[in-house]
Symmetry: C2
Subunit: 424 residues, 2 copies
């Protein structure tokens, strides 16, 4: 197994250490010692002076290839936005998904993300992009049947077929199951998909309580909230990941805590589409819910920048709660890293011996990190995401000096496809 | 006069033009023509292919040298924050102000700002920094007398002396007058300062209606809102710039519009300190108020990044108003550029023949600008501020390829002073 040494790297709390990566895991973290470092037998040594090692971000909700539609529709109501997006989606091809996913992963690398949970179409094309780029990824088969009997059955067959195919994927890329929502998916498939996920040890994810309208519709249709509807169908457990949850009621929050689910906050998307901003972070955390962070797709919230999303989440929590002390910086980091790893069942999201080696190196040599009173304060509130210098996923260096292999080809192909297909 | 040619540069709406700068003004903008460009007799030609010219930002409210205190206190209530900041401020020297201002200007350049309105102490030291760095700046003499008779008289003398000194400043650096607020400055000096500003053609700026507590105090003390108090004292006109205005009442808004004042929104600071977020952008604009944008000081809101502040302002407006159509992208740009120029009475904030040459060049060659559906959407919502490649202030190139002259020395000195003085 290859050995990679991060020599003389700073930790978040200011220690200078050497981090040895053996294969795809962190095998040793020790106080920096130049002589000892030389004796570790590393195949490759990165001189990390002036850089801080932080866990790579885990983006817990996105529609990756939608990056290809970034900016198609600005400053519009959700319904107008959807009409434009749906018209484009009717023209999607495997090629667009492949290059769109690569474009998105390129952006994730540049902004410090090492793992993501995807909900989108044409999964094999997206998987090929993740395989080639070297990111850690959970690609989900997505149910959206609009209550149509034929679609219900076809989607079950497709999900099973994808699962068979997924056995050939590399360890780093995993399959999950997603249902779009309970207003677009039949109860039959909401349940079938969860059972399939349970039987095969897969994560299960859905949108839930994103808008007031959706929540109101469930109350009219089912006489209960979306969360209660999911609970009644037996869909909620530690492997269930619910995106948004802006409109959860206090009793929803309590119940979700008891079920041990994960809720993913997508602050930029919720703000931009005016979906709602009073996300109940404190209540969810106190109830025992695992709160994570996502960016949503770049067609709605424009980028996949998790560092920026952390900042916005913190600012908006402080504002609407009228309390600047909520969500201290170290908790905020957990929301964007280790909480995601917990939901996905992977040993990532923190930098310790035995963990998967998913590490971002932050370059402190810029005005954004001066003065150096508080690294996390500077990192989250002062810097922008050009501070990421190097990224390691699964023990491999996927970005160095902000360069990602093949990035020019990705930009070129994305631009070409745009002209040919999307911008019609 | 020197001639600088920006050759083959894109405009915001996608045209390819040549921009000729003669002295400190834009003398000609014409459709790109390689042969004609060669005949313009420029002393210096910048090849701008792949770059977009945008007006440099005008940061309408900041306490520049406070950048030296960035990160001293995170996630705290205003009162705790103030106690820490005041303890540090008691140890400030001209040297700290000088290097703190330089550090701040370095950050402004890197994030596309070409002009700022400052409210801080030890003005000559700050002015020296602005002079040397080449930024356009309005440095204000700041009144804060705590109702003490001796201080009231001393500040008047100091203000007059500074005005005499300011006659030696370069054209690009101007003096203004600021009053901290009506809860820290005597009515005598609120009025004296405004009269002094009027007599000498200077801008006049103050904090106003930043917090609910401040607004409530005025109601108890004066039986009116802070805005009404300012109006009663005759302080409001087209040359009055009020920072914050989060807690203005509907009748305040109407009256401020009638007086033609400028109100500066400081969204990141207001969010971070939980001061309030329901800034009445639409009402103020409709009433005829000139709405601008500021970052406040970096000790409270951590950076001076106007592009980021535009994004946050847009997102929060869309969210709390429950309307994604408010504040279209082109209006947002005006808030951050030309509206500031109007308040300051300078021919800047837009790129047209005759304007001051305060121009930022944005490099579109990155994943953040792919696909290229909507330049302003990508610039404001997708990119981060590392997209600024080149900056021109007053006809001079102050940043090229993201390099600013003397930046290493600034970071080094700021770090040294920090260790010696601030971090005690």
């Amino acid at each position: 197994m290859g050995k990679l040494l991060l020599k003389s790297v700073s930790t978040i709390d200011g220690k200078e250490v050497d981090i040895l990566v053996t294969g795809n895991r962190i095998s040793r973290i020790s106080e920096h010692n130049a002589q000892e470092a030389d004796r570790m037998g590393a195949d490759r040594i990165l001189d990390c002076r002036g850089k801080v090692a932080v866990p790579g971000f885990i983006n817990m909700h996105t529609h990756t290839a939608m990056t290809m539609m970034r900016g198609v529709c600005e400053d519009e109501y959700l319904q107008n936005w959807l009409n434009i997006v749906w018209a484009i989606e009717s023209r999607l091809s495997d090629e667009i998904i492949y290059w769109g996913t690569k474009l998105a992963i390129l952006e994730m690398f540049k902004t410090g993300t090492t793992c993501f949970l995807d909900m989108y179409w044409r999964v094999p094309a997206a998987v090929r992009a993740s395989e080639e780029m070297g990111i850690r990824a959970f690609h989900t088969y997505n149910f959206l049947d609009n209550f149509d009997a034929e679609t219900i059955a076809r989607q079950q067959r497709e999900c099973i077929a994808l699962f068979e195919e997924s056995k050939k994927w590399p360890e780093r890329v995993k399959m999950g199951v997603s249902v779009h929502s309970d207003y677009t998916v039949s109860e039959e498939n909401l349940v079938w998909a969860k059972n399939f996920a349970r039987e095969n040890g897969l994560v299960y994810t859905s949108h839930l309580a994103e808008t007031a309208a959706e929540t109101h519709e469930d109350e009219v249709k089912f006489g209960m909230t979306p969360a209660q509807h999911f609970d009644k169908l037996g869909l909620l457990d530690e492997r269930t990941i619910l995106a948004h949850g802006v409109w959860l009621t206090p009793s929803d929050v309590k119940m979700l805590g008891e079920r041990g689910v994960t809720v993913v906050h997508n602050i930029n998307s919720n703000l931009k589409l005016s979906s709602g901003y009073k996300f109940k972070y404190c209540e969810l955390r106190d109830a025992g819910v695992n709160v994570c962070l996502g960016t949503d797709g770049a067609a709605s919230s424009n980028n996949l920048d998790m560092r920026e999303a952390m900042k916005t989440m913190s600012l908006v929590q402080k504002a609407w709660r009228e309390d600047p002390t909520v969500l201290p910086l170290c908790r905020l980091m957990e929301v964007a890293t280790s909480n995601g790893a917990r939901a996905l069942g992977i040993d990532a999201g923190c930098i310790e011996e035995g963990s998967l080696a998913d590490i971002a190196l932050v370059d402190k040599r810029s005005e954004a990190f001066v003065p150096d009173f508080n690294f996390l304060g500077n990192f989250i509130f002062s810097a922008n995401s050009s501070c990421f210098d190097t990224l390691i996923v699964d023990g491999n260096v996927v970005m160095e000096n902000r360069k990602v292999a093949g990035e020019d080809e990705i930009l070129e192909n994305a631009n070409r496809l745009l002209k040919e297909t999307i911008k019609k």
